[in-house]
Amino acid sequence: MLEIKNLTVAYGDVTALRDVSLEVNQGEAVVIIGANGAGKTTTLKTISGLLKPRAGQIIFKNRDITGLPPHEIARAGIAHVPEGRQVFTNLTVIDNLAMGGYLWRNDKKKYNSVFDKVLSLFPRLAERRNQLAGTLSGGEQQMVAIGRAMMTCPSLLILDEPSLGLAPLMVKEVFNYLQKLHQEEGLTVLLVEQVASVALKLSDRGYVLENGRLALSGTSAELSTNPRIRELYLGVGSS
């Protein structure tokens, strides 16, 4: 479904991503792990068009989307849940979801059906519908962010560190939702995560980024048993 070929991205003089290739197939959940500064967020931002690559190609559903502006990539069916949630704090929960449904603004029927579906997925959001999103707790904001992304009816959901800054209990809840979306709704997911243990449990395959390069890839089972991964990202081993 998504194919990234030899992607290189730089901020001014600093090359953040060097010659990275990866792919995500229909119905898969794929995780990218790596330390801060390894290029994970850069990868996601480049996929969704927030960053322009210096070289390389991004193919989505057999269409070259390299360098398209973000709003066209969203239209093509990629929804990006950004790092740190970034809900529209000045809008209510409902209006946040409405912005996710911006693409369907001229199709009332489609909008309503998508809206009802998202609310049924996240009943907590229905309770808080008229509350300003900025006043929600971190976990609830993460649900708004995911719900908002689901409003675009994505064929590919990409998430940037959904666990960031959440308490352990909340991390579990958010990942339960993701599990549900992936397994029950059959949604294709590409995920960036620091908490490798939780992420590998959810995903089918994984990639490891180190210093902007692809260091390793494999099925999640392989990665969780790889001694190097266990030592570096799961903290198992020498200590």
């Binding site: 001014g12 003089d13 600093v14 330390a35 801060n36 500064g37 390894a38 707790s137 971190g138 976990g139 960031l164 800054g165 959440l166 308490a167 352990p168 209990l169 909340m170 991390v171 579990k172 620091q194 908490v195 490798a196 243990s197 939780v198 449990k201 180190e210 210093n211 030592e231 570096l232 990202y233 799961l234 903290g235 198992v236 081993g237 200590s239």
Partner: protein, 652 residues
């Protein structure tokens, strides 16, 4: 080598001086052109003064033309009304303008960024309207007339002599500004420009240094105005018109903001454009035989400005430094001005640093205990008058804080002993961040008490706490990305620098010695965290791990007794985590306390002596890690049921 760069510098300076000196002769003493040369000098001073506030301290002043007018009016009034001499009027007018600028800053205590621009714009409007309305003082629309050129030894200066006088005064002023920017004061300004909260956490009093920057900047702007009044012969309200500040911004923008030579080049360029347009306009008038084509001229000016912005988006200096030739040149200069070598102090060092310099992500924080200890004992802070603390280092009691209706802290107590590693955990929104922000002076609290180092502090500001040894490392890297690594390091020595304003402005020997000493210390610190090779690169281009290391080194340079670490484990690999653990252990050896806010429970529990748990703005538990982990209330509120702990652990 050293001499070669000196020669180059002096040659450039000499050529400039020669041009200035020969200018009246070159233009055959033509009044118009000599005046233009003098005006260029005045404009250079004015835009350099704006640059001091805007470029170096990020104070977007829209009042500089108004202050310029204040200087001009003050000087004009003093000579015409009081009959005082120019030589007395000039310093007085400079002081008046500095005072007006200082008062403005005092009044804008709470305004930041865009609001500062708005407030200064409103002051400019007020000054302008006052000049119109207060006819008794200012002469209203007609202004003050009859301001003669100054006299020297009873002899009134002619235009050429005054031209030279202006240049001498302007060059001296520019020299003072250059010195200031390259001193402790300049570093404080630039820190504030980078990020005010970070500057404060390094011990810089943001308000004080903004005040110094803006008052100094205003004084020079006023001096420029006073010089102009005597060149022009009269002063009227048009001088302070805020639309006049456009050409000022333009000169600064075209030259390059926040660079020393930018405003000078910008003025030459902007004056050139205006002249060309005038010449072009005159030619057009002749060709079309119309009396005036002012609107075409102004239109062309506006369009040219917009075009220049598109062509030179980072100004002349910025475009040059980004170009290949410019980079080569600055590399060349860097070679000629090498940093001092780090002093040998790795007596028992294991050579770990060599490994550290490999550009790999998982090696930060792998500094060995011995080295960190050396670093800390070598601390240039002569841990001066600090009493050794036997009691609690930090004693917080009854801390409350509400945001609107939300009670974020409901009477929290906390005591931290010297050398204690304290963990702070709790669900999101439990008040951890608020607590840390409150005790580090980043947020005001509603009620409660803070004692630090045995001293009762009444609503201490961040910089005051930093001075006393409470240093915070933020969650996201708070370096100054556009400064070099060594400059970032130097910013950490703010508290240890004793130079005063006069010493800095005049570049006195005492100040020079201190600068050399601080540079040496900075290099030593960098060597200890394995960053000496990168000393001259921009901090923003370091890898994430190196950035965290630099931040730790800078925090240690401040001289901490309590180090507050906000989620330091986020994004670190297991290996880096071990490095961080050993760093914290060696801080403890040095009796430096650590307050650790962390979601990585495993990491936290291993390190901490005691752990405090927050929920809904209250401390619900406190004790050793074992006690806390078995506390049923904590399990319910935060950790989750025993079987879920396994999963929720960040790195089991």
């Amino acid at each position: 080598m050293m001499s070669r760069v000196r020669v180059l510098k002096w040659v450039a300076l000499g050529l400039g001086l020669l041009l200035i000196g020969l200018w009246p002769g070159l233009v055959e003493n033509n009044k118009f052109w000599v005046t233009l040369g003098a005006q260029a000098a005045i404009l250079m001073l004015l835009s350099s003064s704006l640059n001091l506030a805007l470029g170096f301290t990020d104070l977007v002043s829209m009042a500089h033309t108004g202050i310029y007018a204040v200087g001009a009016y003050a000087c004009g009034l003093i000579v015409t009304r009081l009959g005082l001499d120019f030589w007395l009027a000039l310093p007085l007018a400079t002081l008046v303008a500095g005072a007006v600028g200082g008062l403005m800053t005092l009044a804008t205590l709470r305004a930041a960024h865009l609001y500062f621009a708005m407030v200064t714009l409103s002051f400019n409007l007020i000054l302008l309207q006052l000049a119109f309305a207060w006819e008794g003082l200012t002469g209203g629309e007609g202004g003050l007339i009859g301001i003669k050129r100054p006299a020297l030894g009873g002899q009134r200066l002619d235009l050429n002599q005054y031209y030279y006088l202006i240049w001498v005064l302007v060059l001296v002023s520019l020299w003072l500004i250059f010195n200031l920017v390259r001193s402790k004061f300049g570093r404080a300004f630039i820190s504030i420009r980078g990020d005010e909260a970070t500057a404060a956490s390094l011990g810089v009093n943001p308000f004080k240094y903004k005040l110094i920057s803006f008052a100094t900047s205003s004084a020079f702007a006023g001096m420029a105005g006073a010089l102009y009044a005597h060149l022009n012969g009269f002063v009227n309200p048009a001088l302070g018109d805020s639309s006049g500040s456009l050409s000022l911004f333009v000169a600064l923008f075209i030259g390059g903001v926040g660079t020393l030579s930018g405003p000078l080049l910008g003025v030459i360029f902007a004056t050139g454009i205006e002249r060309l347009l005038m010449v072009g306009g005159d030619a057009l008038n002749k060709a079309t035989n119309t009396a005036s084509n002012t609107s075409y001229q102004a239109l062309a000016y506006g369009l040219l400005l917009i075009l220049t912005m598109a062509v030179l988006p980072s100004g002349i200096v910025g475009t040059w430094t980004k170009s290949k030739a410019g980079r080569k040149w600055s590399n060349f200069l860097a070679q000629l001005h090498p940093l001092p070598k780090p002093q040998e102090l790795r007596v028992a060092s294991s050579g770990l640093h060599i490994e550290n310099q490999k550009p790999s992500t998982h090696n930060s924080f792998t500094t060995e205990n011995t080295e960190v200890s050396q670093l800390l004992t070598r601390n240039p802070v002569p841990t001066d008058n600090r009493q050794p603390i036997t009691d609690n280092l930090l004693n917080v009691s009854g801390m409350t804080k509400s945001f609107g209706g939300l009670r974020a802290l409901r009477g929290v107590d906390m005591q931290i002993e010297p050398g204690e590693v304290r963990g702070l955990i709790g669900p999101n929104g439990s008040g951890k961040s608020t607590f840390v922000n409150v005790i580090s002076g980043h947020l005001p609290y509603d009620s409660g008490q803070i004692e630090f180092g045995g001293e009762k502090l009444n609503r201490p500001a961040t910089y005051q706490l930093a001075k006393r040894g409470q240093v915070r490392i933020f969650q996201a890297a708070h370096l100054f990305p556009n400064l070099s690594v060594v400059e970032n390091m130097l910013a950490g020595f703010h508290n240890h620098s004793r130079q005063n304003f006069i010493e800095a402005a005049l570049h006195l020997p005492h100040q020079r010695e201190e600068e050399a000493r601080l540079r040496q210390e900075a290099v030593n610190y960098l060597a200890l965290v394995g960053l000496s090779e990168r000393a001259l690169t921009l901090a923003g281009s370091l890898s994430h791990g190196q950035q965290r290391l630099l931040e730790v080194a800078r925090a240690l340079a401040v001289g901490p007794r309590l180090l507050i670490l906000d989620e330091p484990a986020t994004g670190l690999t297991a290996e880096e985590l071990r490095g961080l653990s050993s760093l914290i252990a060696s801080l403890k050896q040095q009796h430096i306390s650590v307050l650790l806010i962390e979601h990585n429970i495993d990491f936290l529990m291993r390190l901490c002596d005691r752990v405090s748990v927050f929920e809904y703005g209250e401390k619900i538990a406190e004790g050793t890690p074992a006690e806390v982990q078995s506390n049923p209330r904590v399990v319910v509120a935060y950790l989750g049921e025993p079987e879920t702990i396994e999963e929720s652990k960040v790195r089991p």
